[in-house]
């Protein structure tokens, strides 16, 4: 949405099409809770935010990108404020900020604990103001249109009618989010099937750093619903089965009493980075220190000491979610949580200008990898990333489109026809198939959790890679019950599964190739970071068989790689 507005503002005569498989206000940004980082307060500095982000990334982020990101963040946050986002405020009317994991200073802007919801609705409602934005709601993009060696639009299925159309454009921007659905236990919505990543991947663009999958340390037990890091930013603590704050045993500093005015301390204990906290959970689990129930093992997130008033003003959604989905009221009870797949640091290989290697194709948001997140993203950087790089993508794509006419129209039309035929024959074949989409998807998610979870090692990863190959073969025999064209959600699910398998393979093969531990990618067989060999971005290219993994350089400017230290 940010990119669409940016492009629309470049030139009122430019036609901007927003193609989305769901109504834009349903997009999964809606579920982000905690906040959005940006330096605005006097006690903070760009330098701090840059350092936090780079060290958080385990030095895998491109430092020039991080620097520009941090510098442009405050302006974008203010822009969003001007567009009506109901940010939480200080008594004097200024924006309020809260501390977040891995950050030295509190710099996370928030709108209670529904930040993503408010960001999305503010952007969507603001976008309605622009007459040159045309929405294609519930159109499912099936393939990128490539002609003359550049991206000139998409082929999409209008779900309402089931018809396949080509939408041509001088430039195309991918803002399709992540692919958390390759895992079973995830905070990601059902729509997060990595479509944009797979579309670009199929068009020959590399997927970068796909092995880095972020586990959020506090997913609600059972459903995996996100319990925001802001619960810890506001002072919540994690307790093991003995009621102990176990993070102190995992190199995350010394706990302060919750009544201490200094609590919670930044970059310490519960405000350590997400990768470390999730890894600490597994260590506790191995030591037999976690609770075990019918829905698996878990620890407790305790915010009772915050009191009802703070919880209701700052964390009302957390209370609502815990009550409704876990049957506990956090005012009086502890919340059962465990790590859950949350975010993909990797994505479509894009540069600092949001452009990809395919001319005319741009990407921003979770589906893209610039990279500012490296091996581990800090909480509250991702919403900011949407804005900063969404804006860049919008501007640059608009500029590109103004300079390039649609060309090679015959080839584009032929491509649309090919896709039409492909989908028609896929549907035909599906009616004779015997593999259920849901079964294949479950098996894929299971093997991903087994092979490329929080801790990884060669053997299980190899099994996962093999299983994914088998699933890819079985997908050829997928079964479709639905013969109706209109709103054929089964066909969509099948195409999504096709995309998911691509994403899953890129994750697993990138992971097995990286023989070191860095950030969220922790290998028990290679427990140390190896800057000599792997201070590099992995680049997965699609082939007819297994993905081909190559490496590219990381941009290091002023912050040479060092140890990641938290808790002092």
């Amino acid at each position: 949405m940010r990119a669409a507005i940016a492009a629309a503002e470049v030139d009122p005569d430019l036609d901007v099409a927003v193609v989305s498989k769901v109504y834009p206000m349903r997009s999964h940004t809606v579920a982000a809770e905690g906040g959005m980082a940006g330096v605005v307060k006097d006690n903070d500095s760009f330098e701090n935010h840059i350092y936090d982000t780079i060290s958080g990334s385990d030095w895998l982020a491109d430092q020039d990108a991080v620097e520009e990101f941090v510098k442009e963040a405050p302006g974008e946050l203010i822009q969003l404020e001007h567009w009506g986002c109901p940010w939480s405020r200080e008594p004097d009317g200024r924006i309020s900020v809260r501390p977040f994991g891995g950050m030295q200073i509190e710099r996370t802007w928030y709108a209670a604990d529904k930040t993503g919801f408010h960001v999305l609705h503010s952007l969507f409602q603001t976008s309605l103001k622009y007459n040159n934005i045309t929405r294609y709601d519930e159109w499912f993009a099936a393939e990128l249109l490539v002609g003359d060696g550049r991206c000139q639009g998409v082929v999409a299925i209008e779900q309402r009618t089931g018809e396949v159309h080509g939408i041509v454009g001088g430039a195309t921007i991918m803002c399709t989010g992540g692919g958390g659905q390759v895992f079973k236990f995830t905070t990601n919505a059902s729509i997060k099937t990595g479509d944009g990543m797979a579309l670009a991947y199929r068009a020959g663009v590399a997927l970068k750093d796909m092995e880095f999958v972020q586990y959020h340390p506090t997913g609600l037990l059972g459903s995996g619903i996100l319990i925001t890091e802001a619960t810890r930013g506001e002072g919540g603590v994690l307790l093991n089965k003995d009621g102990q704050r176990y993070l102190q045993d995992h190199d995350l500093g010394e706990p302060l009493d919750v009544t201490d005015p200094e609590h919670p301390q930044t970059r310490t204990m519960e405000l350590g980075p997400r990768d470390r906290l999730s890894q600490a959970f597994i260590r506790e689990e191995e030591a037999g220190n976690v609770l075990v129930g019918p829905q698996g093992s878990y620890v407790h997130l305790d915010i009772r000491h915050l009191g009802e008033e703070v919880i209701d003003t700052r964390l009302p959604f957390v209370r609502e979610l815990a009550r409704n989905y876990a049957g506990v009221d956090p005012v009086h009870e502890m919340i059962p949580v465990r790590p859950v797949v949350h975010y993909m640091m990797g994505g479509i290989d894009t540069g600092i200008d949001a452009a990809t290697s395919l001319p005319g194709l741009y990407a921003a948001g979770e589906c893209a990898c610039v990279s500012i997140n490296g091996a581990n993203r800090l909480g509250s950087n991702s919403l900011t990333e949407l804005l900063v790089f969404g804006l860049r993508a919008g501007h640059n794509a608009a500029g590109f489109a103004l300079k390039h006419e649609i060309s090679d129209k015959g080839a584009l039309e032929a491509q649309v026809v090919t896709v039409k035929k492909r989908i028609a024959s896929f549907m035909d074949k599906g009616h004779g198939g015997d593999e259920r989409i849901a079964v294949l998807k479950n098996e894929m998610a299971e093997t991903m959790e087994e092979g490329v979870g929080i801790f990884r090692q060669e053997g299980s990863m190899r099994r996962t890679c093999d299983r994914l190959g088998e699933l890819r073969a079985r997908f050829e025999n997928v079964k479709l019950d639905d013969t109706v064209l209109r709103h054929n959600t089964e066909l969509r699910a099948a195409l999504e599964l096709d995309f998911l398998l691509d994403v899953a393979q890129s994750v697993a093969f990138s992971a097995i190739a990286r023989q070191e531990s860095r950030g969220s990618h922790q290998r028990t067989d290679f427990p140390a970071r190896n800057d000599e060999r792997y201070l590099k971005h992995s680049l997965a290219y699609r082939t007819d068989g297994e993905p081909q993994i190559e490496y590219g350089d990381v941009t290091i400017t002023r912050w040479p790689p060092a140890d990641r230290v938290y808790g002092n």
Partner: protein, 247 residues
Amino acid sequence: MGSKVTFEVFRFDSETEESSYQDFEMEYEDEWVILDGLNYIKGFIDGSLSHRWSCRMGVCGSCGMIVNGYPTLTCSTFIRDYLPGPIRVEPLTNFKVERDLIVNLDDFLRKLQQISPWIVRDEERAIEHGEYLQTPAELATFKQFTLCINCMLCYSACPVVSHELNFIGPAVLTLGHRYNLDSRDQGADMRLDEMLSSDGIWSCTFVGECSQVCPKHVDPAGAIQQSKVSGVMAYFKSFVMSSGSRE
């Protein structure tokens, strides 16, 4: 697993215009919401069942349906609360059905755009000059009305919508009111033009069913009622001002 429940699901195909109810019996788990039941049917019994859903945490607003006659967010209500069943699932009323449980939202989006749901300023403040100041008290006046997830349950519940198709309706009027109350906004006059039109707030008879079904406690009925009071003020003010200008 163990206990069984039956869903009676509305099926409709706009191509053939045939509608029916189809029974599905399944084993369910205690923590399943209604939506999980539908997904189970789609995944393992009949892949042709079509319904919308996404976040499964009550915030994206996709999965509103009629469950046992009542507008409901299906990801936020549990099968265990409807036992012993059968549980009847139908598409939202007051909307045109496109397929099975999927309804047409074109009207809603048209109405939403019509109300100008964005900040209107006489003069934009430059980004370099920072944020607009807004105290927590000013924020509080409209915060509740920002929480609408556009799930359409209120439209489905509203008896006025059912007989006045052009009625702008609860959610959109509430959003209009939300922007009118925002201390950063200067577009209330323009928005009131729409809200006070013949399709606007005056059609509301304050039944209050919209607020009853709202899963986010937004209280559209209250918002519309408050808009009526603002509308009356604006009406008499314009009267005083125009008679003043004649002198």
